[in-house]
Symmetry: D2
Subunit: 136 residues, 4 copies
């Protein structure tokens, strides 16, 4: 089994512990040291008031991709802050979010992520960052 | 009917257009010009991997309270950016989020919000801001 | 000597170590546990291109007030991130910036600050936050 | 004269209007549509209390690079918000900051920038973003 599969299996086990991730239906499509890709298929209950993907889920996908990327580097992290820039209305059949570690560290891990529609990475819907710290 | 009831009725109508808000079960408990309060009763499907309120919902409640506060001032807004600082693990029977307009404007509206457990406003779980712009 | 004077003396000694603070001419006008107030008198070399206080100095005053507020609680801090919202053009004879600790902690300290003109705290020019971590 | 020289000449004229930029000694080393590079030679008066580049100047260089990148796309902009992540202590003989437009727009322009030491772009000292809006 490849290293990639191990990272993915670990993250899938972690994700299954999060009831909200199960409800969402997040799929982990890639995972290696410091980099992950998640996908989410659109469902109508994800909508905000004019039919785009709700900011909760935009933010949650970016935070989750950041957190999973960080977890490939250090276990048991919590986000102490995250920021989301909403570049375009988020509308797609399948959403892709790529998270990566920008700078690892023992006290804090800087991460970032981009959210886009499957096949259209050059037009991200939203970009963001999370600062992760190891839990006590 | 009081002015407060009118603001609340408008926001409730808006919230019913958002399928995700209906799934969440957000209740609008106060609304006046530039200020809103929302409540959300805990359900197990809101959990992240160690049982706290998921960052999606922490961020979504803050973004929604900011957006609703902005909407009392100007209609048809979209968030162009939001930031969340996670001060403490979010655990409560009933979550309260208070949003307010920090500075209104014709091109952009600065808003902020705080999330805490019912009756414990002095220990916020998370605080954040959103920058709102009128839609085209 | 009051506790306040001790906090102030410590911060003044710290500020004298920072060559840029000396060039700016920051004055520490109040300091207690978790709260500081700084003042800065306008000079023409602080201007950005249309004569307002330059974003460098807006951001630097907010970051410095956050850092000094944090330092009253824990020594030897560095900012890992800071954010500034520019609400209004910053024009004043004397600028005041108030910083406070939002949540202390052993691994990270959440702080925030507001910048306004002397005597006009109700119309802040900018507000912001910094996340501080103890140095290695 | 190349298009690049025209962008640079315009930005140099703009920068000469900002007294603080003149004091800093910012040099515009590259400029094209949506992308700029600035350089700044270290001077001792730029130091914070342990000798690194002061957060004011870290933030100011990132905000200025964002603003200049935005200005190649739309004139007369002001930053409504900026955020800085401080990844490493900023120490160099010559600092380089690259700014770019992430998404242009008529109401707001999303920009980002990276600060590093000359010749070492793979180890950025700080990264950040600014949201720019056209002035009234």
């Amino acid at each position: 089994m490849s290293v990639d599969s191990d990272f993915r299996a670990d993250l899938e086990a972690l994700s299954r512990l999060a009831a909200f991730n199960i409800w969402l239906g997040i799929e982990i499509t890639q995972a290696c040291w410091g980099d992950v890709e998640l996908q989410l298929r659109w469902r109508p209950e994800f909508a905000q008031y004019n039919g785009y993907l709700h900011a909760s889920i935009v933010g949650g996908l970016i935070d989750t991709a950041c957190g999973f990327a960080g977890t490939t580097v250090t276990k048991n992290l919590l986000a102490s802050q995250f920021s989301i820039r909403c570049l375009r209305p988020a509308i797609a059949e399948v959403f892709v979010v790529k998270g990566k570690v920008v700078k690892p560290g023992s006290r804090q891990i800087f991460t970032s992520a981009e959210l886009y529609g499957l096949g259209v990475p050059e037009k991200p819907f939203a970009v963001g960052e999370a600062l992760l710290v190891p839990m006590d």
